[in-house]
Amino acid sequence: MIVELGHYSLVLALILAILQTVVPFVGVKTGDDRQVAMAPNLAFAVFAALAFSFTVLTWAYVTSDFSLLNVVENSHSQKPMLYKITGVWGNHEGSMMLWVLILALFGALVALFGSNLPPSLRAMVISVQGLIATAFTGFILFTSNPFERLSPAPFEGNDLNPILQDVGLAIHPPLLYLGYVGFSICFSFAIAALIEGRIDAAWARWVRPWTLAAWIFLTAGIAMGSYWAYYELGWGGWWFWDPVENASFMPWLAGTALLHSALVMEKREALKVWTVLLAILAFSLSLLGTFLVRSGVLTSVHAFATDPTRGVVILGILVFFIGGALILFALRSSSLSNGGMFHPISREGGLVLNNLVLTTATATVFVGTLYPLAVEAVTGEKISVGAPYFDATFVPLMVPLLLAVPFGPLLAWKRGDIYGAAQRLYVFAGIALVAGLVTLWFATGAPVLAAFGIAIGFWLLFGSFAEVWQKSGLPKAGLSKAAARLSGMPRSVWGTAFAHAGLGVAVLGIVSVSAFQQERVLRMSPGDSTELAGYVISFDNVEAREGPNFTEDVATFVVYRDSDPIATIAPAKRLYTARGMPTTEAGIHTTGFSQVYVALGDPVEGTDQIVVRLWWKPQVTLIWLGPVLMMIGGLFSLSDRRLRIGAPTPSAKRRETLAAAE
């Protein structure tokens, strides 16, 4: 009965979403204030209906209601409670439910916090959100209904794919979706601006916090997914340039560009058309990601279902939204006025460079991801484009940007002084140079490129704080005065510094692991030991254990440094009984920023040996600490007074200049 209520609530959500699309739009077009005023309530209602529906589905999982096909296929009564709940989105239908739920959440948040928006703009944004919600709720109801019953109900379910039974997976999809789907707000704002034919600095001010929030979640989601793949798949890799990873990385790149161009628009009223285009692109790439992952054109751990009708329907939705948005853009963008001019060497110029590089880099990732699909469609030849392609295109394109990052915040708006900036940066360039030389000196035989990479990392890490350092007036000003100055600084300055430094930290980790990691694959018997990167690692024993829904063989390795035992590592081979599926649980010991990583292979038949793969991963955790710093930077910016108080009405004088500009 409760399940039918959930199903009914989903149908209700579809109808309400249609109303959410139509009523505010008609209201704005006919100037009917009552219809415009209905927009927020409709957004709340859609969210409430979807939230109820999602709760019911979760309830079915929690109580192991095996009369539901979806629960049978993805759950098991013996599964730990946490994975019963996260199993809701560990499958196609449930993850689409999460997708629309988050979409509706963002619609409701605009309704809630948008009271300082002009009513017609808010209504229009909510209407566009409603259109997206209509498309995806319809998609779920007609092709991927999670409330389908199964009769007779079996006694036991098929269990969730064991590699998805992990805490990392529990939080990775919700974070990723909060980011992905968060860009829908930017998209809706862009479409609303195009329909209204009016856009100004205030628009950028409203859009930026949403972009920033979505970007923070997307950063968290990608970093989480990367760490999950690193420890759960047992391959020791943190990024595979897998099409599914690229699907989340492309919106991140476009979103990062959008954050920066919206800054120019907010401060200088320039790059309006470009910012609108980026807002459309960021969400279009999110939709593309959803299509790639959900349609089954790619095979990967994320490809839950390959029902061809679903792929066609998502492709239809994709073409409708992206195509429609771009046509609208082509027709209406000329109505948006152009803003202030600037010298190429200026803060704006720096941000344009940022946008140029990020969008070009996005394009190379796009080509590499879709080229195999295009080739197969045209010639039937099956090819794959892997890491070497991205190393040869994406990486060299990013280098100039990484070098330029510390300059950006030091340049003034309109016309910057690059020599002045260089003068303030030479100390940091010196630090970077020393770091590079030290790398060359200590790591004998280190490739020159690795030293260059380390130097770039240090340059970013320290150079990012140049603006803060300069504003503090240190060392001349003295500590107390400097502290006063720093606390009075806008939070966004700290935000920029942390986000850019985080990029540097991630670069350091990436370069260090790529250049200096050590790997050994060997057969070991209990009692054997081997040497790795100055540690002695000895294999003690293997022990069989019982888990809640699996059995496992746990091996014990002891790590010695100078013949003192410093850590025990326990990698395991698990067999999930419901599916009869084995998985590898890597054993990891973290020391400083570095890790010793042990994965078990198969036992060698006829002996007591096991194939063991050992890695030394120097500074590997920096790869994920970098994104954490970026998120902290994002939070600082989000808490900046300018954004917190929303968009104030422009002063009378400013309104005059705005009018004059138009």
Binding site: L160, A305, G368, K382, R613
Partner: protein, 150 residues
């Protein structure tokens, strides 16, 4: 600088960036693309397939054995041919005899295949899509629809 000069600078910068990107992409696509081959296709034209290859087929039953010191050997087969694969790493969890697999690496002069990556499925009902498509073309494998439905 005049308004026009400023705009020209930005446009030239953008074009230079795009040109660089196009050059990098084209070079990379001509060098770095990995072709998918079945054993039959691979052995039909060994010279043309001297670069990096993804070799896909079924793991021949009874062919998996540990090499003398380290690593494993197994054969990948399709309807007509078999290729001996040597691999030094750890086989994926779901690597099993008689099931679909993809080995990535290069063909050696002695006709064996040296793999640096071996991919099996992530899920027990999953068959690598390329492998399933080709084996079906050959009429060698008529399993259930390629499906990762869990």
């Amino acid at each position: 600088m005049t308004r026009k000069q400023k705009r020209t600078t930005v446009i030239f910068g953008a074009l230079a960036m795009l040109g660089l990107a196009v050059a990098l992409v084209l070079t990379a696509l001509s060098d770095q693309v990995t072709f998918f081959r079945t054993p039959t296709e691979l052995l039909a034209a060994p010279q043309e397939n001297s670069g990096r290859i993804r070799l896909g087929g079924l793991v021949e039953t009874g062919s998996v054995k540990n090499a003398e010191t380290s690593g494993v050997e197994f054969a990948i087969e399709d309807a007509n041919e078999r290729v001996l694969v040597r691999y030094a790493g750890i086989l994926p969890d779901l690597f099993r005899e008689g099931q679909g697999v993809i080995a990535e690496g290069t063909l050696q002069t002695d006709g064996s295949f040296l793999a640096d990556t071996v991919l099996a499925k992530h899920d027990e009902t999953y068959m690598p899509k390329e492998v399933a498509d080709r084996l079906k073309e050959q009429g060698y494998w008529q399993g259930e629809e390629v499906s990762a439905t869990q």
